[in-house]
Structure formats: C-alpha cells, structure tokens
C-alpha cells in the first residue's frame, strides 16, 4: 500500500518567500515552517527589522493641507494646459485632411481669381504698355470669388503662420497646375509649359507670356481646362 507523503519544505525552499511573508503575513506554509524553525524565525525578524529601518529612513515630512490643495490645483491647471494643447494639435491634425480639401476647394476659385485679376488690367494698363487686349472685356463682372476664410481667433501664434503658408502653397500649386493644363491644352509645347510652371511665381509667369499666348491661356482657363 503506497502512501503519498508530502515532503515538508526546507529553509532553502522557502528562502525567497520569507520577505514577502514578513510584510504581508499571508503565506500559511511559511508561517508553519517559521513556527518550528528557529533560524527562519530569526531571519524573518531581521527582515522585518530591515523593512522598518527602510520605512523610517524614507519617511517623508508631512505636508500641511494647503500643500495638497495647491498641488491639486496645479494638477488641474496642468491638465487644462495639456487639453488646450491637445485641442490645438487636434485642430491642426484634422486640418491636414481639411487643408487638402481646402486646397481642392480653392482650385477653381484661385484660377478664377487669376483670370479676374488679369481681366481687370485693360482698365488700368494701356494696350501700348503691353497690357492685355480688349478681347477680355466681356468676361463677367468685377466681383471676385472669395477664398475660404479662416477665423484667426481659432488659430494661435505660430499655427496661424503655418496655416497661412499651407494655404498659400496649396493655392500656388493649384494655380500652377491650372496654368500648366491650360498651356498644354492650347498647344504651347511641353518645355514652355514646364517653364511656365517651374520655380517662378505662377502669377509672374503668366505676365511673361506674350499677348497672344496669354489670351489663349486665359481663354483655356476660362473654359475650365
């Protein structure tokens, strides 16, 4: 008849469990062992002494209530600041998509603005000075299309600059593309079209065209090419 005997744990077996038991007093197996083992009893006493010394050494000076009130207020302020910052970032993060949308939205408006701007020239620049010809005279009224406006109060400090720069760049890119398309569509050769939309400001580039080219580009733009 066999009998399963459970071997009692030795001091070595329990060595790593003494300290946790010293602080929590919740390990029954250790408790039983310590009860009957003088050396472990001594060891657990030393561990408790150590823990007490550590607690004493690390004891912090108590603070008065005002300290905690101030700390609570500071935490709240830090949270409010962090939230403001996060909101600002979220606003800027969303706008990446919004800016693309805005860029697309201003495409037509920017091209139209360009047309209207150049169209107004015959009234102020005499033809002999190289201004656009009277052929442009019948293209609609003088009121322009307003670009989407951004409320500056919604944007702070440097973000405003970034937003404006982004808008400006988006607008220039769209104008460039419109001019390139228009120039290509009316048969201005590829190199010339590239030259039109190279490094230079698209508005200046348009002004560099001769009258005939300019008229054809504008006509193409007006058709919405």
């Amino acid at each position: 008849m066999s009998q399963t005997t459970r071997t009692r744990p030795s001091c070595d077996d329990l060595a790593e469990r003494l300290a946790p038991h010293a602080v929590a007093d919740d390990d029954d197996e250790v408790a039983v062992h310590v009860e009957g083992c003088a050396s472990c009893r001594k060891e657990i006493g030393a561990l408790r002494e150590t823990l007490r010394a550590v607690k004493d050494a690390a004891r912090m000076a108590p603070r008065d209530e005002a300290f905690w009130t101030d700390l609570g207020r500071d935490v709240r302020l830090a949270w409010d600041r962090a939230e403001e910052e996060r909101t600002r970032r979220r606003w800027w993060g969303l706008p990446r998509a919004v800016w693309v949308g805005l860029g697309i939205a201003v495409t037509g408006a920017a091209a139209l603005l360009l047309v209207l701007r150049l169209r107004g020239a015959p009234d102020t620049i005499p033809p002999e000075a190289g201004g656009p010809q009277s052929g442009f005279a019948g293209w609609g009224g003088s009121e322009g299309h307003e670009l989407p406006m951004i409320d500056e109060e919604d944007i702070e400090g440097e973000d405003l600059d970034r937003v404006l720069t982004a808008l400006e760049e988006a607008q220039d890119r769209e104008v460039e593309r419109a001019i390139r398309n228009a120039a290509t569509s009316i048969g201005i050769d590829r190199d010339a079209a590239e030259a039109l939309t190279g490094e230079t400001d698209p508005y200046e580039t348009v002004e560099d065209l001769d009258d005939d080219e300019l008229e054809r580009v504008l006509a193409a733009l007006a058709k919405g090419v």
């Binding site: 408790r48 607690k55 905690w68």
Partner: protein, 203 residues
C-alpha cells in the same frame, strides 16, 4: 509578534482592493463621459501617494510636484486605453515611476563628475555613521537597487499595494514580484546590518 504587527503595513484585503478598483473605475467612466468632478476626485484620492512616490526618486519637492502633474495628465489623456479590468491606481503609479526614473536618469546625465565623486566619498565615509548617515545610507542603498526590485519594494512597502497589483505595475508575474521583493530586502538587510555593526563598534 508586536514588531510584526507594527511593521506590517495596512494590508488590503482582496475585497478592499477590488472595491477600490471598482470605485476608481466608476470615476474613470464618469470622467470619460465628461464629468470634471470625477477628475478632481481621482486627483484628490491619489495625489499624495503619487507625490511621495515621485519624491522618493527625485528628492526634491518641485520636481516631485512636476512629476505628479505630468503623471495625472498622462493617465487621464490615455484613460481611453485603460482596459475595463485594469486598475487606474496601478496604472497611475506606473506612469509616475516611469516619469521619475526618466527624470533621475536625465539628472544623472547632467550632474557634474565632481558632485558624483563627492557623493561617493560621503557614502564611503561610514566610519562616522550617525543616525542621519544611517538613514542616508539606507536611502542610497534604496537608490542603488535594480529598478524592478526598487519599484516592487516601493509599491509594496510604501504604497502598500498588494503583490497582485505590484506585479501589474512592474510588468511581471506575482511570483516574480515576490522574488524581486525578496532580493531587494536581502540587499537592504545586509546594509542595515552593516551600519548597525559599525554603530555598535563605535559605542
């Protein structure tokens, strides 16, 4: 037995720990729904513990305050990622300890070599250990523990977290937390014993 009782920190029963977690979870849920008072309530609950926890690492009120603020901000900002069954308190302490450790690491990088050497000389000058030096030696030894051992010891002894929560904060099993605790206390014991020996020789 009296010593054991005196030393034994207020041990949370499983029920108490669970109640605390459930209460915290309710505040967190209210906070998620936009109740600002829930935020204030959680700050009030844990600001002292977080502050003292940070202070043990950084040894400076201003830095500890700063870490306390940042710990709460991070905890609340990331609260949406907190699992339903996770403990807000454990998570908050973990954030605070990480911030404190980063702070100490950065400060060490900046600390001049001479200052570090001076600290070394002070520690070596144990021949004239008085009470304050004993205390400082223990604190230095605490500082010198490997990070995980120290974290486990801090959370168990000073913050009185049950080992189960200590394990979560330390990112290990409960058993590993206990083993780390054992090693930490053993190292400190050798030091305390050494200091006591020097003191008795002196007397």
């Amino acid at each position: 037995v009296a010593l054991a009782e005196a030393l034994k920190p207020h041990e949370e029963t499983t029920e108490t720990a669970d109640e605390t977690r459930e209460e915290d979870a309710r505040f967190v849920e209210r906070f998620r729904r936009g109740d600002a008072r829930a935020f204030d309530e959680l700050v009030k609950r844990y600001q002292r513990q977080v502050f003292y926890l940070a202070l043990r690492y950084v040894k400076n009120d201003d830095d500890a305050k700063d870490i306390t603020q940042r710990a709460f901000v991070r905890a609340f900002q990331g609260v949406s990622g907190l699992r339903g069954d996770a403990s807000f308190r454990t998570w908050l302490f973990k954030i605070a300890v990480n911030l404190a450790l980063n702070h100490v690491r950065d400060r060490r990088k900046l600390r001049p070599v001479e200052e570090a050497a001076e600290v070394g000389i002070d520690a070596v000058g144990a021949s004239r250990i008085d009470e304050e030096q004993d205390r400082q030696s223990v604190l230095d030894a605490l500082d010198g523990l490997p990070p995980k051992q120290r974290l486990v010891l801090e959370l168990r002894v000073f913050e009185e977290l049950p080992f189960r929560e200590v394990a979560v904060a330390a990112g290990c099993s409960e058993n590993a937390a206990k083993v780390n605790f054992h090693h930490a206390v053993s190292k400190l014991k050798a030091l305390v014993k050494g200091a006591a020996g020097i003191r008795s020789k002196k007397s």
